[in-house]
Symmetry: C2
Subunit: 341 residues, 2 copies
DNA sequence: TTGAAAGCGCTAACAA
DNA sequence: TTGTTAGCGCTTTCAA
């Protein structure tokens, strides 16, 4: 039978209340006494029973907030799967999760939603942020008030958020380059279609790709980069113009949305499978092209974990009082073909 | 606040004990009474609080057994990582996990270990089985006694196990074929090096690979298959002889151990990166060759989940009374290059 | 067939 | 600064 507070109390010759005070570093307890009790607990191999604690705390009714923009997009839907699983799990512990969905990438709306969550009593918030002073300031303000923030998918590194959960974009780009290097014929050109140069996640990917492909495939003649701003139409136009001007193109890497537009051009020109396409994220639109054979590889960033882990991290912080072990938790880089979807 | 048994008791004008009897379909309760209470609970939207239940049951001290052969191998070590994580998690719910490690693939020893676990009070067992009548009979016997079995990594499909957790070998083989098809030059031969023809997991992989590569790369001239019985020395000999006899070999697929032996030959003959190598499992030995560039792709079968999930499934069965949602839980097929290890 | 009550491990409010 | 005690939601034993 596992060690309980009661047993420690007996062993230390004090009451259960005192043991509780010692183990949880509360005020109003003699320092040496606390130290001694903690030592005894350690020696006895004490591990707190989560259920006892959660049950006792269940009258407090801990609340965790989740804030997601572009909630309608396929990618965010996949994050929501993880959120839903976490909510299901949290119910076990009587922890309430309040989800706020925002359709636009609007700074003011985001700040307002953060304040709403605070008003509703959330002591932890998981959110997809972007680099904007108003938001960073609000995060820091919340941190000072003792409301823990975990950033998801995007990060504001110099803020007081307790953890970031998302992909290492540079490494993702390198991985794409490694795959491209395997399938690209000799002496060809490569085209990178990125989202927006302002989006750090996209530019990290592009940069990782460019650096690595240059290193391992010195035969590649030219590496071009264009920006499609996550639009299929723009990507299509870019692709059409580029292929007209550069017949030697052997591979296309997309850091963000636009796959459908590119594939439309490839199908027209009967270049499917001849020009190799690698892209990011397992959206329905993308996997459709993967299954068709228009795309060779898709790189996933484990959106499920991006929904699940932040809530779990906040739970451990709020219920167990444990800070996250790392400040950046990178999700795995999944390589997907049509066979292992 | 969620609906509790107490509230139902008040609403129904009975005691909490009676509500408990009704909701859990216990004996010693008036049938109509029970029906009525359940109806009221349903109307009130009652959902049992799992912590309260687990806490109340914690004196029963649920035990789960884990049975693993070849525990010293690198692959099983990775499964053990998942087992350890599950044990850590289980401790929080006062559930004890008893692990039995067996060094050999010995039927009698396995049966003895199963009986030991039963004697020690395990009400659920996760085990790596193999197809042997004695073992299937023992699984069925345990099932009749109410001891739930989850098979891991290998399966005995026609037994009374409640679930299998492991890889879909055929699909893994297809995935390997898809990758091989991308990197294999035109008009080459392919060599499959399998483990043992008797091992169903290996032969499923080999069969999946053979079927798929035949379909999608009709230019492939010959597909050979040899058996290395998980030995590097045998694999080396096979590879050496085969390459001497078949100069047109462009790719090698290994369903099981032997990568190191193959790579030794490739290094000698300066064929690294020219003959494409794809293999299974992220052992240290294998990843070393992947990083060196001797192997293009490794396929993982998520051994961590194979350690973690079975215990979780047994936990849900024993504590919550929930049967697993599926009878076969296939772990994901991970594609790894040196970039996304 | 039912009700009353103890207790699982923990926290927190109140007393001392 | 400490001890005592009343629950949190549920199961289970003992009486009735």
């Amino acid at each position: 039978m596992a060690v309980t507070i009661r047993q420690i109390a007996e062993a230390a010759g004090v009451s259960r209340g005192t043991v509780d005070r010692a183990l949880n570093y509360r005020k109003d307890i003699n320092k040496q006494q606390a130290e001694r009790i903690r030592r005894i607990a350690g020696e006895m191999g004490y591990r707190p029973n989560r259920m006892g604690r959660a049950l006792a705390l269940s009258k407090n009714h801990i609340k965790i907030g989740v804030l997601i923009q572009f909630a309608h997009t396929a990618f965010m839907q996949r994050i929501m799967k993880g959120v839903d699983a976490a909510i299901e799990e949290m119910q076990r512990f009587q922890v309430e999760v309040i989800v706020k969905l925002i359709e636009d990438n609007d700074t003011d709306q985001t700040v307002i939603a953060m304040e709403q969550l605070r008003r509703e009593g959330c002591r932890g918030i998981a959110m997809v942020p972007w680099n904007e002073k108003k938001i960073r300031d609000k995060i820091d303000e919340f941190a000072r008030e003792g409301i823990s923030i975990v950033t998801v998918n995007g990060d504001i590194a110099d803020s007081e958020r307790i953890c970031f959960v998302g992909q290492d974009g540079f490494r993702s780009g390198c991985t794409a380059a490694g795959l491209m290097a395997e399938v690209l014929p000799l002496n060809k050109d490569v085209l990178i279609i990125s989202g927006s140069p302002a989006n750090t996640s996209n530019s990290n990917r592009a940069e990782g790709f460019r650096k690595e492909i240059t290193k391992i495939r010195p035969d590649v003649k030219n590496i071009y980069i264009e920006y499609a701003f996550e639009s299929n139409e723009t990507a299509e136009t870019i692709c059409r113009k580029h292929l007209a001007a550069h017949a030697e193109t052997g591979g296309i890497y997309l850091t963000a949305a636009g796959v459908k537009g590119v594939c439309k051009v490839l199908e027209e020109k009967k270049l499917t499978g001849i020009i190799k396409v690698i892209s990011n994220d397992l959206t329905d639109e993308n996997t459709e092209q993967l299954i068709k054979g228009n795309v060779q590889f898709l790189l996933g960033q484990d959106p499920y974990s991006q929904g699940y882990r932040p809530i779990q991290i906040l739970f451990e912080k709020l219920v167990d009082g444990h800070d996250p072990e790392v400040k950046e938790e990178y999700t795995s880089i999944e390589i997907k073909t049509k066979y292992n979807l």
